[in-house]
């Protein structure tokens, strides 16, 4: 199998958040990112943080059917991390010397901007989730995140039947929606 085919396979796996693909990409690419961040005023924690963010960008891209990678995964991840780290340094007004870049890079401005937008949305939803309280949080979590069936949920949460659980779920959803949109309009 050629490298390109292997990488394509990894991306397909990543789109399904397949564990072995995630791990393979981690193993291949983490070290270079860590040395980049450490050489540019960062700590190992920064490196872990930035790398995870880049993984999220790659994950979202891999799910996008119109997306095709025109370079190696390594180059792409490196470019994203570099851009993210530059931004972080600027925010901390620590951007003094030029950031070292021996690696090949590709333009990733758009991706990083999209990523920031997605992050805000994610935080908004997470905030709304954290505010609805129990049992709503667990209920919605079970249905939308863990994709459990209404029967299972009814049994687990002690509702007499699936219909009752469903009504409760809708009530919770309405609350979550109100919380979400009240912030969304402010943001």
């Amino acid at each position: 199998m050629s490298t390109t085919e292997q990488e394509q396979l990894l991306l397909t796996g990543l789109a399904k958040s397949d564990k072995s693909s995630v791990e393979a990409i981690y193993r291949e690419n983490y070290a270079i990112i860590q040395s980049f961040i450490l050489n540019n005023n960062g700590t190992i924690d920064d490196a872990r943080d930035i790398f995870q963010e880049a993984m999220v960008v790659l994950y979202e891209k891999s799910k996008d059917t119109t997306f095709s990678l025109h370079c190696q995964i390594r180059t792409y991840v490196y470019s994203i991390c570099r851009r993210l780290w530059l931004k972080r340094l600027q925010q901390l007004s620590k951007y003094s010397s030029q950031v070292e870049s021996l690696e090949e890079i590709v333009p990733v401005e758009e991706e990083v901007e999209e990523h920031e937008k997605r992050n805000t949305d994610f935080l908004l939803m997470e905030h709304a989730m954290s505010k609805i309280g129990e049992p709503c949080k667990s209920l919605l979590d079970a249905y939308y995140l863990q994709k459990k069936s209404m029967q299972d949920i009814a049994a687990e949460f002690g509702y007499t039947n699936a219909d009752n659980a469903k009504t409760q779920k809708y009530k919770c959803l309405v609350r979550l929606k109100k919380l979400f949109f009240s912030q969304y309009k402010n943001a």
Binding site: S17, K19, V22, E23, Y26, R27, Y30, A31, Q34, S35, L38, N41, G42, T43, I44, D45, D46, R48, D49, Q52, M55, V56, Y59, E60, L92, K94, R118, D121, F122, M125, E126, M129, Y144, L145, K166, T167, Y170, K171, L173, V174, L176, K177, F180, F181
Partner: protein
């Protein structure tokens, strides 16, 4: 109830569970009533958002798991030393810490030797009793000092130090700016002339008071030692909003000469005597905990431990974290030449296990010692 029914209908419409007749009927309704149409659009958008959120959340979870696994396997690790140049660089970087560590080691070995001699001259029992008595005396003194102050029934948590010669009182503080700005309680430093701070790693520095706020019982300290190196990225942030009842947190402080961890929850939204600047917490705190950070699970500082009720068990008061922002604003107004203090906004503690959170956090929590 109407809204619920509508949502249910919209969800069935979106998921394609409707019969063709139902569907055409609903589409008719949708065309005629703009409100329903709006609702469908809005709900689609919302469900889409929720789905993205849940996908991303589970992906992030698997990332954290993978990372943990790779750390165990040793794929992710601190860089090892390569070549000569690297060694020199590390040596010059840690020279100072080594010197501090060496002097501390020397100090401790002398102290242990001294203690050993003293210990051998006394019986075990006597030593134990005398220690206990002294501590009781300290607490009583602490209470006496605070009579007539803002908190009548509460004894400010402050401790006489047994460790250093120059220290009479001990409290806790934590960094709010990597440039060396710390927050602690006003009552911790109010009668200190010379202030020293030290963390669990053994770094210790001189510090001076930059600003105090008696009302919220807060003070800002600045490390003045030239050996202090600016920390770029503090992993935690400070919460502006009020915390909810029942919010769980952990604390770090120096009731002993070693950093001590505590856990608890917010039990009331006001402090002693309805004090709206503070929370009531249920946590174990002892003399020396004053000025310690109260940190929630997301790594946000929600308060600063101030006092405990001398009469009741486990009733502790903490100044709300938003007072820090208020104090910084006041500082800006009072002194236009004052340096700009940037509060941290890190989220390095989010989504990781508690033991890891504490490991990341503890070097930024300092013991305050002074006379």
């Amino acid at each position: 109830m109407d809204e619920l029914l509508l949502i249910e209908t919209v969800e069935r419409y979106l998921s394609g569970e409707m019969t063709p007749q139902e569907r055409s009927f609903f589409e008719e309704v949708r065309k005629k009533t703009p409100e329903v149409d709006q609702m469908v659009v809005e709900h689609t958008f919302f469900l889409h958002g929720l789905e993205k959120y849940s996908n991303l959340k589970s992906f992030k979870h698997s990332l954290i798991e993978t990372e943990a696994k790779l750390m165990e396997d040793g794929v992710i690790k601190e860089p090892s030393i390569h070549g000569k140049a690297r060694i020199i660089q590390l040596w010059s970087k840690y020279k100072r810490s080594m010197a501090v560590a060496a002097s501390i080691a020397l100090f401790i070995s002398v102290l242990t030797a001294g203690l050993n001699i003293a210990y051998n001259n006394q019986s075990k029992q006597n030593d134990f009793i005398s220690l206990k008595r002294e501590l009781t005396k300290d607490i009583k003194e602490g209470i006496k000092k605070e009579v007539g102050s803002r908190l009548d029934t509460a004894s400010h948590i402050r401790q006489k130090t047994p460790i250093t010669d120059h220290g009479k009182y001990v409290g806790t503080s934590f960094l709010i700016d990597g440039k060396g700005y710390l927050v602690t309680n006003y009552h911790v430093i109010s009668s200190m002339k010379n202030i020293y701070v030290g963390n669990n790693k053994g770094d210790s520095y001189y510090a001076e008071v930059v600003y105090t706020d008696n009302a919220s019982d807060l003070a800002i300290l600045k490390i003045t030692d030239t050996s202090y190196k600016t920390i770029i990225n503090l992993p935690y942030s400070i919460k502006r909003a009020n915390s909810d009842l029942g919010e769980q947190f952990f604390t770090l402080g120096f009731p002993r000469n070693e950093i001590v961890y505590g856990e608890g929850y917010v039990s009331a939204k006001s402090g002693n005597d309805g004090d709206s600047l503070a929370y009531q917490l249920t946590v174990s705190a002892n003399p020396g905990n004053s000025g310690g950070p109260v940190i929630n699970k997301n790594g946000e500082i929600i308060g600063i431990i101030t006092a405990k009720d001398a009469k009741a068990d486990g009733v502790v008061y903490a100044t709300k974290s938003k007072n820090i922002f208020r104090m910084l604003d006041e500082l800006k107004k009072a002194d236009t030449t004052a340096p700009l203090i940037k509060t941290p906004s890190g989220n390095g503690l989010k989504g990781i296990e508690r033991t890891q959170q504490v490991k990341k956090m503890e070097e930024f929590v300092f013991m305050v010692v002074g006379n």
